[in-house]
């Protein structure tokens, strides 16, 4: 994902803000985390794809 995707991304549960942590980035973010402080939930970014599925439905 590109950084500017943060402009529109919202927490899938509360629809609020997500905080981005980047672990690997070239022209886009490859690995990282999206964190919702309100829900205290972390969503992984892997292979450039943010995964907003509930934790129990992730691969």
């Amino acid at each position: 994902m590109k950084r500017d995707l943060m402009d529109i991304l919202a927490c899938p549960m509360c629809k609020g803000d997500l905080e981005l942590t980047v672990e690997e980035e070239n022209d886009e973010i490859i690995t990282g985390t999206l964190y919702c402080a309100k829900c205290d939930e972390r969503y992984p970014i892997e292979d450039g794809i943010p995964n907003l599925l509930p934790p129990d439905l992730r691969e």
Partner: protein, 210 residues
Amino acid sequence: MKKKQLEILLEGVQGFYKPDLRREQYLTPAPIAAELLHFAHMRGDLSGTVCDLGCGTGILAIGAKLLGAEKVIGVDSDLGALRIARANAKNLGVDVEFICCDVMDFAIHEHRSINPTVIMNPPFGAQIKGSDRPFLRKALEIGKTIYSLHNVGSMEFVSKYIQPYAIITDCAKMGFPMKRTFEFHKKDIEMVNVELYRLERREKDAKNKG
């Protein structure tokens, strides 16, 4: 780009590795994808942000980007399909964002005044009755203009379902040459007739549609 050129490019898009029957996963055939996209492009609806709900391996999303959309986002709950979608986009040299999320849970941040055009080939409800409805609800929640493929004869149901929030402004009939995907398909290629609807949201807030 001409429709035929787009169709030829989209023929290169790879489909599902293991299609899931319950989710009605099959690759939208390139001629149908090209037809939908060309139609939307001609109406001037593909210039800004475009969302493909239930994007699967990305054929509609990638096509929208090939036609010059500013930003394209594909949403699907199948991470494996999205990995193929990313590879498809890379092969065709376009930047498309893919988000792994249940379509029902997907939200555009409420502080942003973005009204994307939604393009989608939702499940027709052939396997699980009514499975096209949550897609219509989500499309109306996030988008102002929606292009959606349905079974022939769905017009009455869809127009009733979306009122008073939206209306059908256009309908195009298409033949849908579906390749054998599931075992119960009897022929290698089955012609399935579909209808493309262009919906326009009228009310500002369609979020309470139940």
